[in-house]
Symmetry: C2
Subunit: 274 residues, 2 copies
């Protein structure tokens, strides 16, 4: 059974359009690649009511919830407090997380980046986690993340700074996700068609999507296909390499035959293994 | 009172991370600039249950819902059917929308882009709108959008192709939104600080945010501020130019004084009028 994953990206800069949500797309791609089924990406501002509400809704729908943003020292960083509230847990000083923060500021002080290595209330705030949470190390930043198991759900809290988030996802989240999904392989093939009318291939896409529910097949117009050619992408997932290539071949054979019958030439066909 | 706006971006390519949600950020920025309060950006896949569910939730929270994506000829384009279902309306062939689609394909045929100007079921599908919807012209694509008034709410359906969406937002959505918010002016000032420790200015940001609730004040670290300087952005909104500049001056004066007292120099200060 598919593991449903919901991504909650937190930050007023996102809902005011100051920042494009590249974290959401990056996580979605990575989660999909290991066989997770991302049902929703939700973005809310730095507002307790909004964050707690969105967390509760996500937990009611998905097995895994990944949050990004709101872990820093400033007052608008309130993700940990909101996760605690949404789960009905206390927000407590996590000794392991405190040690991580302490080590980071000791290094930053040695490097001359900060004026003092002492813990301040703002720095200590980054070690406040929901009770029972496991702190996730942040090798490239100050704020630790968190992994929390709750009534059969898994919540991961990651920072909003992309390079911190990406590193922590790869080191601390993806390995656990792979264990849940069982499938670790995926491949996307792109067929470039000698065709500019997307509506003419709609029937074939529909037919193929019905025939291969485990494949994601989509046509991509080039600006209403006035200048560009239509691309069709086929993404398949599997737990082993053999199943993966068998599935991809099956879909590609189906599509190529249909296009041939319609007089549409496949200009090129690329495979992108992940 | 603030007009709450929720943005619903629809597309499996978004929740699988094949496409970064630039539409969400673009819309959020534009809506914010005219005084709308974007509470949430939600992304769902091309799935009827997911889309209808997300629409109903959005309508329960916001006065205005803007959707992007899912208006094309292919079977996974199902936004109009889902909006009809969420609002309890029938999906009907809209004669005005049909005329728009017909004109587009006549032009595409003349330009040699499509093989036939005739209406097909796929093309006709793009003129199927919720009953009572007003079709919105799409000057750069085939699928019309829709504006629907429903129990004091406003729903706008726009295409997913960015240049189509942007043009239609500017021509058909923004003017109506301005009438709702009353405020048409905003300005963002960026203060670049001679400071690399974000946690040291957290208190000032908190203080200023409390003092000026109509301003959005945020510190932006440069990669944990190891290499970079911290920027502080201040965005204010108002219905007239005088209020706008008064408000911005007030916040800037407050921040500059506080930073001066802390020995933090403001390296530069830019204003970005919108």
């Amino acid at each position: 059974m598919a593991v449903r994953v919901e991504i909650l990206t937190i930050g007023t800069e996102l809902v005011t359009g100051l920042v494009v949500n590249t974290n959401g797309a990056w996580l979605a791609r990575r989660v999909t690649a290991v066989g997770g089924h991302v049902t929703r990406i939700v973005t809310v501002r730095d507002d307790e009511g909004e964050i707690v509400g969105a967390l509760r809704e996500a937990l009611s729908r998905a097995e895994v919830v990944i949050t990004t943003g709101g872990l820093g020292p400033t007052p608008d960083d309130m993700t940990m407090a909101c996760v605690a509230k949404a789960l009905g847990r206390r927000l407590v000083l996590n000794e392991e997380a405190l040690e991580m923060v302490r080590r980071t500021y000791a290094i930053l002080y040695e490097e001359g980046v900060v004026k003092s290595p002492e813990m301040t209330p703002e720095r200590e705030k980054m070690a406040m986690l929901p009770e029972g949470a496991e702190p996730l190390p942040n090798p490239v930043g100050a704020a630790p993340g968190a992994a929390i198991e709750h009534e059969g759900r898994l919540v991961f809290c990651l920072p909003g700074v992309p390079r911190e988030m990406e590193r922590m996802y790869e080191e601390s989240v993806e390995p656990r996700l792979r264990r849940l999904t069982g499938a670790s392989l995926s491949v996307t093939a792109t067929l470039k068609l000698d065709c500019t009318d997307e509506s003419s291939i709609a029937g074939v896409i529909r037919e193929a999507s019905r025939a291969f529910p485990w494949a994601y097949i989509k046509s991509h117009p080039g600006r209403l296909a006035r200048e560009g050619r239509i691309n069709v992408t086929v993404t398949v997932f599997a737990g082993d390499a053999e199943t993966l290539s068998t599935r991809l071949e099956e879909v590609e054979r189906f599509l190529k035959e249909r296009f041939k019958n319609m007089g549409i030439r496949v200009i090129s066909s690329d495979e992108n293994h992940q």
